[in-house]
Chain length 371, copies 2
């Protein structure tokens, strides 16, 4: 069996995105121990850089040692106690996952189901919370990776707070790609991923909790069901650097990569990264429309970092994707769940979001459509 | 903030161990998608290589997307149903964790507590199972990383089976370092880590389940409490390669590293790796004893990959460790839990287990003791 020699793909699916060679180099630096004083310093720097990326001063801001789904589960199972009513907004695959996790930890999900092409409807949230006045939490997805729709996280959070609910926002595909201001918008808890607009390899999930969220966790009457994900235990390691104690072994080299990627983001500066994502996305949408295709989500609810394209009737969509992959080394994503066969998902995330990549893609896409 | 420049440490603690430069290079290869056909091939190869490392034909053999603690939790929460009696053998920190996880998933732990310097006592297990004849599972640690004691996994498994119990064995620190034969010894489920004798950076947990274990999971009356760790869902991705569907995003680059490390293990061959660990350990123990120190665990229960040394009374043990780290770039481990301040833990795992490293260490250790 020979060593694995991965092809060089242009990653324009729903994540992972292409990783900056500087980040790949950082990941390959020599491993040190997870309690090494130098590593403890690195952890502090990562916290500080994540606070910048999330635009927060939250003390409890760190990367979970697992992919975005682990971050989702960590947020929900720590904040939801058995019997808690949780409004879950479902406008795509990932809202559906939140519901399942709420059920598995004994919470009572109250579901707002909606059209998968659209943002979460603030009016529906307001109505639902008015009808269910004992609700403790509201969970929704900022940037739905399964549909390409962007929800108005600021308004949804305001409405939730008016009804005395805490908010858990999925920012897996928004962090680093579109405007996100945890403190200004008073988002109580959020989880993200590293393999989207941050452009690290997958495997880590940055999370952040404000004091209200931490207070709810500290006042739980029952133990969190997971030992690995119990934030009371995890914070023994990721909490104050003067008192770090062993909980689990952190993924050292992956954290080297995250540190480097966050440094690059800070160097570019968040506002510029958001602008870059927007500009390249507009270029992509224009090009796709010139090919006679339709964008799935209407313009004002469209994610720049993930453009979904309606597949014309009668077209063998899998053939287009495999032609792009095999002839042009370009990966795009298929539809997920109810949207399988109906849309393509074209990602322009992080390091991938580059004018040159848009042009390369459009030229190859045209050929693959006519193949 | 400058890029992180980790020092070059000789990692002789309880893990992570030093990583072969070939593995670090593999990790830095270009990221591809987690549903890329080439990545699906890599997953099949990793399964095959893990089957070799575990010495098993178990179809359900794969790396969990999280560190060893995640693997521990995945095994327990899938196999334990609420109300199940589970005998947990505690002869160190990690047995204690198993107990906590069993409690958190609604199982009833029946604990065998023992001296932390010793292997799990097979007679005690037999007695306990005789007294508790409705026990469904037995959980124990093969190689206790907190004490340096090796348990007789083969005999413990035989006794458990005589009492109609399934076995979950923690092989985090044994896989690749000492004899381990999942199929020959009929171990039903096991989890390991990558940062010990396999010498990858931390972050993955190889697991294996035989058909009896899978049957118990398939016949559960209740849902597994975790969505992220529900093996019924995880196997949609890691199961048959012809039908792979998205569950969570796999840690692509970490898996490149695991593939490379397992190739290196196969190239050396397991039996040679076990022999190497044994020989270097004997050299280390001889040298430590020549310095007038005592090994904590008696010879026939001693782990070669993790040697624990009794700290002489009155010695400032933290000073010795920090001198080793700061003056010689060598990391060794402190005692954990009840053994804090009482022992040092000196690891000779995977790529670190090398005659030259033993000599470098002994020379530096002598200086640090007299510092």
């Amino acid at each position: 069996m020979p060593p694995f020699d991965p092809p060089k793909r242009l990653l324009m699916g729903p994540g992972p995105s292409n990783v900056n060679p500087k980040v790949l180099e950082a990941i390959s630096r020599p491993t040190i121990g997870h309690l090494d004083p130098r590593f403890v310093e690195l952890m502090d720097e990562i916290k500080e850089l994540l606070q910048y990326a999330f635009q927060t001063k939250n003390e409890v801001t760190f990367p979970v040692s697992g992919p975005g789904s682990a971050g989702m589960e960590l947020c929900l199972i720590n904040l939801v106690e058995p019997g808690d009513k949780v409004v879950v907004c479902i406008n795509g695959v990932f809202g559906g996952r939140m519901k399942q996790i709420v059920e598995r930890c004994g919470g009572i999900p109250i579901v707002i189901e909606q059209d998968w092409a659209k943002a979460v409807d603030p009016n529906k949230l307001d109505e639902t919370l008015t009808q269910n006045n004992e609700t403790k939490l509201v969970a929704f997805v900022h940037a739905e990776t399964s549909t390409g729709a962007k929800s108005d996280i600021k308004t949804l959070t305001q409405i939730s707070h008016q009804h005395n609910c805490l908010v858990i926002a999925d920012t897996v595909t928004s962090l680093g790609g579109i405007e996100l201001k945890i403190d200004d918008w008073q988002i109580d808890a959020s989880y993200s991923g590293t393999q989207k607009c941050i452009s690290c390899p997958p495997g880590l999930s940055p999370v952040t909790f404000n004091q209200k969220a931490i207070d709810k966790i500290k006042n739980r009457k029952t133990l969190v069901q997971s030992w690995f994900m119990d934030i009371n235990l995890v914070l023994g390691y990721w909490g104050q650097s003067s008192k770090r104690t062993y909980h689990h072994t952190a993924p050292i080299n992956s954290l080297y990569g995250l540190h480097e990627a966050l440094l690059l983001l800070k160097e570019e500066c968040l506002e510029n990264a958001w602008k870059r994502h927007q500009q390249n996305s507009e270029l992509l949408c224009k090009g796709v429309e010139e090919l006679g295709l339709e964008i799935f989500v209407k313009e004002d609810e469209r994610l720049p970092e993930l453009v979904t394209v309606t597949i014309p009737k009668g077209l063998d969509e899998a053939k287009v994707r495999s032609n792009l992959l095999n002839e042009h080394n370009i990966e795009i994503g298929a539809g997920l769940g109810a949207l399988a066969g109906k849309i393509w998902r074209i990602g322009l995330m992080g390091y991938t979001s580059d004018e040159k990549n848009v042009k390369t893609f459009l030229s190859a896409f045209k050929k693959s459509l006519n193949y």
